[in-house]
Symmetry: C2
Subunit: 516 residues, 2 copies
């Protein structure tokens, strides 16, 4: 970011108009239709969201990207607390033996992990810096948590004895590590930030209800806050979390027609309770194992946000998530009085924004030209720009530009600040509706294998098709097309049909797509 700004500043001296600066900027981002993957990386890197790091597969989350995560975290945290959950914090490390305790968990998971074997370094006697001290080998290796079910259920054993201790509704904000061979900024990194909820219940019904409730918290958060429509569904057995009885998910559609799993909520049955021997006495003094759920979303959501909304000029942020919602940019002439007048108008608007709780900035930095500022704030995704031009204010108007549609309008200066909250609300709902329409336009019912393959290749998106319900067919379709069953939608319509691959009988359609 910083070096780039410098480069732009130099370039900018060669160009003197707003359009010129924008031209340069648009040239720096790859177009979506030319190379979607490169466009995504350009936005992340040039928009100041993240950077590569010296550690393979790990990224640095830069201030603008971290601010997005903070807004997501704070909003989710509020919703978790409103639904009765408390935060806690469990150790980063898990004793290796814990991973083996739940059979399905270790089988389906947890092989690609960072393993701590030693606890001390020492000076290299040959002068080569520091080396690992061979005398400081751990008796049992520690695993950097890839997820925390095992260490948490080992702890719950001590916390739960009676039905009075239930439900136990705990969430953790933490970093986790899964050693990934192919990584992509935000979407798949070796270390990532996330939250993981881990709850314990007296009955199966209550645990299932919790699993669904948290799925709903995720779905409404994604739709209301991120302006990103999601399909609520349940995973097939193949795609289930290792150790779960059922995995519920929300699936979003990206602009390139690929799906992205944005959150999961697992009903774990009594599997972890049995593995870690967590029992409780009910009101009748009967002993039973506890019922469990876990659920999580991660910094992957930042990647989803970018891919759901942004365009060839840069980020497009929904107002509820934008660290900066409005920027005011002055265009001065050489007259000092006009400058003072513009500064005063801006101060009035800023004061109104402050009272209304709108996050705004007046950027009257003289070292940067307006055209450069326009492009920079577009790249960063600021939802609304107000331009206070020397000539416009003579006519008592200002130009208001919205980032989502790029429409510009002239607003009367009187009461201009009071109109912005409604504009922000309109942008928020327009972004949601645009994404919803995109998804509707790119969700297709398909009834033959030929059509299935053709649709995937020519008009990627969600494919709604019949499937015979077997893991073998699902696996075969994945091998042939790289498409997976994203979910069986909740409240799915029941209809008789024939499996798109095998022709065998099917009772409902499921959603296929290629996915991130």
């Amino acid at each position: 970011m910083h070096s780039e700004i410098t480069t732009f500043a130099v370039l900018h001296q060669l160009i003197d108009s707003e359009n010129g600066a924008r031209f340069i900027m648009s040239k720096t981002l790859t177009n979506r239709k030319d190379d979607y993957a490169q466009w995504y990386n350009d936005i992340i890197l040039k928009g100041g969201l993240a950077d590569y790091s010296a550690v393979k597969g790990c990224m640095v989350i830069k201030p603008h990207g971290y601010a997005l995560w903070e807004y997501m975290r704070d909003e989710l945290d509020k919703r978790f607390k409103e639904t009765g959950h408390q935060n806690a914090y469990f150790p980063l490390f898990i004793p290796k033996s814990f991973l083996s305790k739940e059979a399905a968990h270790v089988e389906g998971f947890a092989k690609e992990c960072a393993v701590v074997t030693h606890y001390r370094l020492k000076n290299d006697p040959n002068g080569g810096g520091v080396i690992v001290d061979p005398d400081a080998k751990l008796e049992e290796e520690l695993i950097v948590r890839p997820t925390s079910e095992t260490i948490i259920w080992n702890t719950y054993k001590d916390w739960i004895q009676s039905y009075r201790d239930l439900p136990l509704l705990i969430n953790q904000w933490a970093n986790v590590v899964r050693w990934e061979m192919r990584t992509r900024l935000f979407l798949r990194t070796t270390e990532f930030l996330w939250q993981e909820g881990h709850t314990a219940h007296a009955t199966k019904e209550e645990a299932i209800e919790e699993t669904k409730k948290m799925l709903d918290v995720y779905a409404t958060f994604a739709e209301e806050f991120m302006a990103m429509p999601v399909v609520r569904g349940v995973k097939t057995a193949n795609e289930r979390f290792a150790g779960a009885e059922d995995t519920y998910c929300i699936e979003a559609l990206m602009q390139d027609g690929k799906a992205l799993q944005a959150g999961t909520s697992h009903f774990l049955g009594q599997n972890f309770a049995k593995a870690f021997d967590v029992t409780f006495r009910d009101k009748e003094n009967n002993l039973d194992h506890v019922w469990a759920t876990s659920w999580g979303v991660s910094t992957r959501l930042v990647g989803a946000l970018v891919m759901a909304h942004s365009d060839d000029e840069g980020l497009v942020l929904p107002p509820k998530l934008a660290p900066l919602q409005v920027v005011i940019i002055p265009i001065f002439n050489k007259d000092a009085d006009t400058r003072t007048k513009i500064d005063n108008i801006a101060a009035d608007i800023m004061a109104t924004f402050k009272q209304a709780g709108i996050r705004a900035k007046y950027d009257n930095d003289d070292n940067t030209r307006p055209g450069f500022k326009f492009a920079e704030y577009e790249l960063k995704g600021v939802p609304v720009r107000i331009t206070l031009g020397a000539r416009d204010i003579e006519s008592n108007i200002a130009e208001v530009a919205r980032r989502d549609t790029k429409e510009k309008a002239s607003y009367q200066l009187d009461g201009i600040a009071d109109k912005i909250p409604q504009l922000l609300a309109n942008i928020q709902s327009n972004m949601y509706n645009t994404a919803l329409k995109f998804r509707a336009d790119n969700t297709r019912e398909v009834n033959s294998w030929e059509e299935f393959v053709k649709t995937l290749d020519e008009t990627p998106g969600f494919i709604s098709a019949h499937w015979d319900g077997t893991p073998e067919t699902e696996e075969k379709i994945k091998e042939l097309t790289k498409a997976t069953i994203r979910c069986i939608p909740l409240n799915n319509k029941q209809e008789d049909g024939k499996c798109v691959l095998t022709g065998n009988a099917s009772k409902e359609r499921v959603l296929f797509a290629r996915a991130y």
Copy 2:
């Protein structure tokens, strides 16, 4: 906690009065004067702040303890942002070779670290669960960050080229790991949560100013928010952070007369910039190395909070930090009308609290007796308790008890809720003043070695004494008494004197104490 509540509930059935329940509760905590260390552990464990974990040296932070950390974090974060800092996130892992780059840093630090050597597990062919895959050995080992100067300065190299990129004011909230042999809940654990600020500046003066500014942020936070007075000072060379030119600190005095370092702010000179080759061009196009600071506080503050204020009945929380500020407890008789009346009064009070932003709870749970509730909320440190008794409300009064002084008063029911904000403010300032008086009473000027040793043993606290300024004398005093120089207070009075150990000339007094 949970099992304990159950035990208490059972015990409570044997006892029928408020005094009885309190008697049981006070018996469960060790008294401070009998065994201060055990009292501390009792409060942490029985107050539901933290628990031991299955991983040696790591703790589980339980919801009540985590809530305290959240309030601290949110308040500090606000103050960091107000002083122009932004949050970011850097990798958990540091390549081993990075640690050797800054000579003093590796010499004084970073030997007791968790070392990641492998990135995969596999099923044990002999059926013994999972084993480390010997084929998945890392070429270069990764260190779990004990602090992040090295990885961050390696990143800053790419972010800083020009004076326009400076200052760079970044903070990170993260977990860090330092392999500790002797651990104590919150005070010294192998993994802990903290924030670390890392800033880069164009000039030495600006970096020093930043170092002092952040020390002041910590000090005012500790005093205004935690009600914990601190001495602002600078460390001696011996006690300096590895790689720093100067380490500033805030030091607090605990109730047992031991000192606790509550926060540090380091002026790092150009050491890390030189080690990682971070240079910038100034306005005149000259190339120079960047100037650095780093500063941090950790979950250790939760331990400090406990030891600064709590008593033999449990936690005493300053209102600004208390997750629950007021609890309302009804004492019903058998009359249903009275019950309704009490519920209505409580609802009115709660509504007023909600509007005033006071965190309050009406605990009308019928399964728990008032006496047990009293003891439980005292243990948890809730600052104010309002008791609504059937007889009292006939006379239009309620009992209000404050946790800090244990004073009780009868308040008129009319307008009772409006009086609570002032009471909370009084408690906050009383707690600070009490701690300040305690520190004043336990800070002693000492002028001879005999007096020094006697004071340390008989009336522990801060000792203000002359020191000849040499590391050898400092080391000798530590060997003889376990007392260390906590700091050279800022704005220290200059006076001629003689070193308390060697009799050599000294220009100022420094603060000694035994410390956590």
